[in-house]
């Protein structure tokens, strides 16, 4: 491969030798002509304008145009359904100009971005879904992934967090075929691995989701989980514009913890004690004190949620962009500002603000330079500055304090104005916001890309060489204020105990805590050639990627990717992709592999046999098959080798307690370690019906993934843990379908979209302990599990309601999950019929947080100047648990929470098990008792807009102006009945999690 480098170096020298253009000033002429189609019929409604000027004229029924312009000008002719025409003005002196109708799916707006290439949708035989930036909703949201929810078939997005700046989500493409990783897709922005969620939505030209081997094999060992390929906007020689977007809105919390007041808390606490046969803790005088609420020092009654959470927080977004260009230079430039405030109340003191807040500045300039007729270069510089602020104790601690501290724990302020607290509850929320400082994380990201293409037609027509290089850096700088407070607990006798140590406000010693540099270098050749009706497109690239960060060796990647696309008569298409990819994660000699794939497409509607079917305008059938790899295995670095670590915590000997040297063996390596191998097959069609108003596409897919890592399961007498072995196999199969409708009835335009994906996974092989009962084995179950506290639970006890009487308990199998079982405890099924309930009665299940189906649908309707759009998203076949909500709390809080009111009590019964302080094992075990249907359907976005008539704006030099109101997460339908939780993130608003957020916004969009 050394030849590659030599070629590249020579090319570099050639580039520098070229001269630039020189140009003469022009004279004024009048360009005239008639626009006709290929049957010489005049075309009405073609927009004609001069490049770099925004205003133009529209042709009438006779197709004639006449325009005053300079001899240097370029004229542009545009009409939907026709290929855009672009020619020097001097060519138009009263001649007929022929505009060619666009083939279906091959127009200006039908670009599909594939790795190092652009294809018309018509030419694509791989399974790729796309969405254009202009189709994404305009909402002031801090992350972009949420606006994609439910928009693309085969792409599942689950929101996992809602906190300002970190409202993250996870992606899954099609289904699960690896039980090791979360199968995180590769996210590429302009061709290289970059974060896209923090981009501004206006930066985005389009997003392609690459789903099958035909496109993914290009990435070799990095592609198996699918690719989300984001492209940023570029300037256009046919479109010059300045835009300004202004948005403001509010974010409101939903489904938050509703604290129990002190009186009820004390009653419930006493009930818990009574349930265990213990004496009550709160006597009648205390209960009366809570009820009266007159002495709040002695009988505190706080509602921290009301006291410290706002009902709405503001959010703003401003974006300016400038774009345009001519035949030589094209530019796109954007600047945006985003500000999202947190919900904490009373956090702004005169020294600092401890409310969580997220500010982001995005900028981007994309330049395309046509240096000479053979040499093109692009230079893209983008970046962002993010400023994330939060209280010193962290959002999680603050939220768990206000959600979890009992209402009677302490008065916020004692009678002497000192902060209240107790030995059990030492976090005082008022002090946390006002005397504990704050932290500001400043993230700075710079992304730079250079791309140079040299035509090599002198060697052979259609050949070009390309070099692509990126330099991305990101850093994290942390600063803020530190301060500490003390709390005082007063006893009944008036004496106080202090906890914590007061410290004055000082500047937080700041530091760079993160630094990352990523470089990618791609170089290679393209060969595009049409010979008669045969089109060839050949691409070949070498990739070298480096990721550097302090405290670790560089991560490197090598890939050689090749692709041949062939088409015949724009009707028959075939692609061949093969990459040779290597990873440093595997033993030398064992680290490179080939990843080939083939795909084919046939536009069957162009065949004579279907031409007569009037209803069917277009039908393409396509299929692909190939191999993709995944080296993103969860194992330590160089897991194929054995290592010893040194340092670490050191044992001390001697009277001086000297720390002595310490060496230890790390987990045993696996020299045979290899990558996951995903064989992917996809078969589908795209169709257009009823004068192209209806578009349908469908894909059946299947993936089998081999060499999954699975535990070696060696006896513990080995005395050392071991790196896993590649013995696992799993697969998924399913289908996805999308339908679109677009039709104009007079002044009304109606668009509908919908998509549905079903995927079912199966574990074919996994190492499991031999002695495991058959009903606990994972093989032949789905990949997934019910999410509980960050881990996935797959085995459950089968609950059979609650024991109502002691007689029932005596007659039932002995339950050995806790010391004592009492009425009001969960009754379980004795799966192995051994007369006792223990860990052997858990059964393997298919319950999973990953839905088996996910879908979305929406509509855009415009009438005259008004427009409205709605977008829904939903999932099916998903299960959540409420165990960690109902059983939340600690010894200190007595496990009393808002759900305790519905706990079982003698005689009257209840929904949840009896409240108890100790010996809780029986009722906290993972069981079907706690499972709930996690399906939901959500109105994700809605928008109503009004575009001001152009006439009103002419004097202000404004081309268009649109005012709109929009909302995000507006309505949710689920099967949770009146359970006050969100089905997508059940823990949001509970524990230490930020509440689920609904956003309302209004905005103005100006186009100059």
């Amino acid at each position: 491969m050394n030849l590659y480098f030599k070629t590249m170096v020579i090319l570099c020298c050639i580039f520098t030798a070229f001269n630039s253009y020189a140009q003469k000033p022009g004279t004024t002429i009048s360009a005239t002509g008639v626009l006709v189609d290929n049957t010489q019929k005049p075309i009405e409604g073609v927009t004609v304008f001069i490049q770099e000027k925004t205003s133009g004229i529209v042709t009438g029924a006779d197709g004639k145009f006449s325009l005053e312009c300079s001899t240097n000008d370029i004229l542009i002719f545009k009409k939907e359904g026709y290929n855009t025409l672009q020619k020097p003005a001097v060519d138009f002196l009263g001649i007929n100009v022929v505009m060619t109708p666009t083939l279906i799916d091959a127009g200006d707006n039908d670009n599909v971005f594939i790795p190092f290439g652009i294809r018309k949708k018509r030419e694509v035989s791989a399974s790729i879904s796309t969405i254009k930036g202009s189709e994404l909703p305009q909402l002031p949201l801090s992350t972009l992934n949420n606006v994609l929810s439910g928009r693309l078939p085969g792409l599942f997005i689950k929101q996992t967090g809602t906190r300002p700046g970190t409202d993250d989500a996870t992606f899954l493409i099609r289904g699960r075929s690896s039980y090791n990783s979360n199968q995180v897709p590769l996210v590429l922005v302009d061709g290289v691995e970059r974060d896209f969620i923090n981009m501004d939505v206006n930066e985005i030209e389009g997003i392609s989701v690459l789903k099958d081997a035909a496109s993914l094999s290009w990435y070799g060992m990095a592609g198996a989980n699918g690719v989300i390929y984001v492209t940023t906007k570029r300037g256009s020689p046919t479109d010059t514009r300045i835009t300004l977007d202004v948005q403001g809105g509010v974010q409101t919390p939903r489904d938050q913890t509703r604290p129990v007041n002190s009186y009820n808390y004390a009653l419930l606490y006493n009930q818990s004690l009574q349930n265990d046969g213990n004496a009550p803790r709160y006597d009648q005088a205390t209960l009366d004190g809570y009820k009266a609420g007159t002495d709040l020092y002695k009988y505190p009654n706080n509602n921290f949620v009301d006291q410290f959470m706002k009902t709405a927080a503001p959010v703003q977004r401003y974006v300016v962009s400038v774009s345009g260009g001519n035949a030589f230079v094209r530019y796109y430039s954007l600047l945006s500002y985003y500000n999202q405030d947190g919900l904490y109340k009373g956090a702004n003191n005169d020294k600092y603000n401890a409310n969580t807040n997220y500010k982001r500045y995005n900028f981007r300039t994309n330049l395309d330079i046509h240096l000479n007729k053979n040499l093109d270069a692009t230079l893209d510089v983008g970046g962002r500055v993010e400023n994330l602020r939060y209280p010193s104790s962290g959002n999680g601690t603050f939220l768990s304090t206000i959600y979890g501290t009992p209402s009677n724990a302490f008065p916020l302020l004692n009678a002497d104005s000192s902060y209240g607290g107790s030995s059990l509850f030492r976090n005082n929320p008022l002090a946390m916001l006002n005397e504990n400082g704050n932290i500001t994380d400043l993230y700075r990201t710079l992304l730079a890309t250079m791309n140079v293409t040299q035509k090599l037609d002198f060697i052979t027509k259609g050949l070009s060489a390309n070099i692509f290089y990126t330099y991305d850096i990101t850093s994290l700088f942390t600063s803020g204020f530190t301060q500490a407070y003390e709390i005082y607990e007063f006893s009944n006798s008036g004496t106080s105990t202090r906890f914590g140590n007061k410290a004055p406000l000082t500047y937080r010693s700041a530091g760079f805590s993160g630094n990352l540099r990523n470089n990618e270098f791609w170089a290679g050749l393209d060969y595009d050639r049409s010979i008669g009706q045969h089109d060839f497109k050949l691409s070949s690239r070498m990739q070298r990627a480096v990721s550097a960060s302090p405290n670790r060796l560089d991560n490197t990647r090598i890939n050689y990717a090749n692709r041949l696309s062939y088409s015949f008569r724009q009707r028959y298409f075939a692609d061949l992709v093969a990459s040779y990819s290597g990873s440093q994660s595997f033993a030398p000699g064992n680290r490179f592999g080939w990843f080939p794939a083939v795909s084919a497409g046939w536009i069957i509607s162009d065949e004579n046999m279907l031409k007569s079917v009037k209803v069917l305008d277009y039908l393409k059938i396509r299929g692909s098959f190939g191999l993709v790899g995944n080296d993103g295995i969860s194992a330590r670095r160089y897991a194929y080798r054995n290592y010893f670590s040194r340092g670490g915590s050191q044992y001390t000997f001697g009277t001086g307690y000297n720390a002595v040297s310490n060496t230890t063996e790390v987990e045993l390596g696996n020299p045979d370690l290899t990558w996951e191998k995903a064989t992917k097959a996809s078969l589908g069609f795209d169709a257009k019906l009823l004068k192209q108003s209806v578009a349908v596409s469908f894909d059946y897919f299947y993936e089998k993934r081999k060499d999954l890592l699975t535990t070696a399961l060696l006896p513990n007498i080995l005395g050392q843990s071991t790196v896993s072995v590649n013995d696992g196999i799993a697969n998924y199969k399913g289908f996805e379908t999308a339908i679109g409708y677009n039709k104009t009835f007079g002044k009304v335009n109606v668009r509908l979209n919908g998509n549905y994906t079903y995927a079912n996974s199966n574990i074919d092989a996994i190492n499991e302990e031999a002695g495991l009962p058959a009903y606990q084995k994972q093989a032949n179950f789905q990949i997934g599990g019910v999410l509980q506290g960050g881990s996935f639970i797959r085995r459950f006890l089968v609950a059979e309601g609650l024991f109502q009487t002691q007689a029932e308990i005596d007659a039932a199998p002995v339950q050995r999950l806790s010391g004592v079982v009492r009425p009001g405890d969960i009754r379980y099924k004795d799966i192995n019929a051994d007369g006792q309930i223990d860990n052997l009665d858990f059964i393997m299940t298919d319950y999973s947080d990953v839905p088996t189906s996910y879908y979305g649908f929406g509509t855009q309707v415009s009438y005259s100047n008004f427009d409205i759009s709605l977008q829904f998203q939903g999932v099916g076949g998903r299960t959540i648990q409420i165990n960690d909500l109902v059983n939340s709390g600690s010894q200190s809080t007595g496990y009393i929470n808002q759900f305790s009111k519905e706990a079982w009590v003698d005689v009257s019964g209840g929904i949840y098990p009896r409240a108890t302080l100790g010996d809780r094992g029986n009722n906290t075990a993972s069981s079907t008792f706690w499972l709930r249907d996690g399906d939901y359907l959500r109105l994700k976005t809605a928008e109503i807009g009004y575009t001001f008539p152009a006439g009103l704006l002419k004097s202000a030099k404004i081309n268009s102006c649109r005012f709109y109101v929009s909302g995000f997460n507006l309505l949710t339908f689920s099967k949770l009945n009146d359970l006050p939780i969100d089905p997508e993130i059940p823990t949001s608003g509970y524990g230490s999690n930020y509440p689920y957020i609904t956003t309302f916004a209004a905005g103005l969009s100006l186009n100059f």
């Binding site: 480096v546 060696l714 031999a770 010391g819």
Partner: protein
């Protein structure tokens, strides 16, 4: 772009793993004195400590009839509530001990050829002690001691186990059956013998910065304990007296070497901040500078401590009166209305009872007292808090906390004396030597309990020795296993534990009412630990202990 080209052109663009972040290769370990020695040092971490078995400060005492844990949801209760099972384990040291065994076995194989640089390690050195061979000998001696210790920790819990006397390979058949109990005992004894042969005599033979390493005396004490366990009714079902004899001989050899002695301050045996490597401590874990023992166990009114280990009334009752009589003896002068008066001084050394002065003020375990029952969730469940091991100098939740050096004392001289007395009593009955050594413990400085009355029968003497162990060695993890090896589980562990409800009626005057704290469950299978189901599944040849 040029530097990038150079990186890209480097032959080894994808690194080969010969260099990595921080970690080193096996050749580098044995080719370097510090790394090779460091490998053995690391094995000392495997010696179990008993201060925290559940991640929240629970001690084994709360799994026996010594105490109750104040955290009612602690996993330590698995020992007590009848749910102990292969699928519900606690203090499961199986994989930890084999990890330690792998370390020492690997060390034993590699150290003779490793690059070891002789250094002076002993308090007094002769030229013969500084040679390469002498160094290797000592290092191997430490490894043998630790191997004996790790096997012993397995054997005392599980009974017979699979012996690990070599480094297992991940590719070999590891589904190995258990060795016999006797083979396990023989292996522990043999490794102790190797250690005894190779190691420096006792703590002070090591130079000051090597104290805490294994010694000849530690090997001897561990051997004596192993033999005592093997001679006890649980494992010596035919009551083969020769086994008791072996145990007695080993303990006697220890005593006769005159190296260790009873320390003059009972409290400070465990406090290396006040008495580094005191004469009584034979072997201990590293002495961490800590205050977590106090945070976990001090009474709750002391700066928000968690009051975890709560001694039970049965244990408190085991302390004799200062006249040497049990409180059940009508002539003992025991006053139920002033129950802590005139008791064995060790009660005050080991229990924070009501009115006991701790950190210059009285503990208040009476109802509604600052440390009283139900005061908060962490409050004592029995009316008592553990006092043993706690340092009065340690502070927590302060502007600047004070820590104190405490190890977990694994072997100490008083135990050896009691081991000898117990074994000898079984062989010869209550002969003079039996009296002599039990009395030495009773009359230790600062305790000064009266000598045992003359004329005890063998059975009476056995009971007195058992009670002496219960009192002297309390909370040190002995009681849990002693009750089992004496086959007294049904007697002590299968009945409710009680506490003392103390109600003030006038200043300084209280009423004392015993009350049941919780029911305890013990069945025959509980004499041994269950292997975890996970281990049985991975190693089916390891047959589960009977009853589980």
């Amino acid at each position: 772009m040029l530097p990038f080209f150079m990186t890209a052109c480097k032959k080894n663009f994808l690194q080969d793993g010969s260099t990595t972040e921080g970690n080193i290769t096996e050749e580098q370990v044995w080719g370097n004195d510090a790394y090779a020695r460091g490998f053995l040092n690391n094995a000392y971490f495997t010696v179990p400590s008993g201060f925290d078995l559940d991640g929240d400060g629970a001690m084994l005492a709360s799994g026996s009839d010594e105490a109750v844990n104040s955290n009612v949801n602690s996993s330590i209760n698995i020992f007590n509530n009848g749910t102990w099972a292969p699928v519900r384990t606690i203090n499961n040291v199986y994989s930890d001990m084999y990890e330690g065994l792998r370390k020492v076995n690997l060390f034993l194989i590699k150290v003779p050829t490793a690059v070891i640089i002789p250094v002076s390690e002993l308090a007094t050195m002769t030229p013969a002690d500084t040679g390469f061979d002498a160094q290797i000998k000592r290092l191997r001696g430490e490894a043998f001691f630790l191997r004996a210790m790790f096997h012993f920790e397995l054997v005392k819990r599980y009974g017979a186990v699979t012996l690990a006397t070599k480094v297992f390979d991940r590719n070999e058949n590891l589904n190995l059956p258990r060795n016999t109990y006797q083979e396990c005992v023989d292996q522990v004894v043999a490794d102790c013998d190797s250690a005894i042969l190779l190691l420096p005599s006792w703590t002070n033979t090591w130079s000051t910065n090597n104290r805490g390493r294994a010694t000849k005396m530690a090997g001897l004490a561990l051997k004596a304990r192993m033999l005592l366990y093997a001679a006890s009714p649980q494992f010596n079902t035919t009551n083969d007296v020769s086994k008791w004899q072996l145990a007695a001989n080993t303990a006697k050899a220890f005593i006769d070497s005159n190296r260790h002695s009873l320390f003059n301050n009972y409290v400070n045996i465990f406090n290396f901040g006040s008495a580094q490597y005191n004469s009584e401590s034979i072997f201990a874990t590293q002495a961490l500078n800590r205050n977590d023992i106090e945070i976990n166990n001090a009474p709750i009114s002391y700066d928000g401590a968690k009051g975890r280990t709560n001694p039970v009334q049965e244990f408190v009752d085991a302390f004799e009166m200062t006249n040497g009589k049990a409180i059940t003896d009508p002539t003992s002068n025991y006053n139920p209305d002033n129950p802590y008066n005139l008791r064995d001084p060790r009660l005050a050394f080991t229990v924070n009872y009501n009115t006991r002065i701790f950190k210059s003020r009285a503990v208040e375990t009476f109802v509604d007292g600052n440390d009283g029952l139900n005061k908060n969730v962490n409050a004592t469940k029995t009316g008592y808090y553990m006092r043993k091991f706690l340092s009065e100098a340690a502070t927590w939740n302060q502007v600047s906390n004070t820590n104190s050096r405490r190890p977990w004392v694994v072997l100490r001289y008083a135990e050896v004396l009691l081991n000898y007395a117990e074994a000898l009593n079984e062989v010869q009955g209550p002969v003079t030597d039996v009296y002599k050594y039990v009395n030495q413990v009773r009359q230790r400085s600062g305790v000064a309990m009266p000598v045992l009355p003359a004329g005890l029968t063998q059975d009476q003497m056995r009971t007195r020795i058992q009670n002496e162990r219960r009192v002297e060695l309390c909370f040190e993890g002995h009681r849990f296993f002693d009750v089992r090896r004496w086959k007294q589980g049904e007697l002590f562990l299968n009945k409710p534990v009680t506490g003392m409800r103390i109600v003030p009626i006038a200043p300084g005057i209280y009423t004392y009412t015993r009350f049941q704290v919780e029911q305890r469950v013990f069945s025959d299978k509980n004499y041994l630990f269950p292997f975890s189901q996970n281990d049985i599944n991975r190693q089916p040849a390891l047959i589960q202990n009977t009853g589980y």
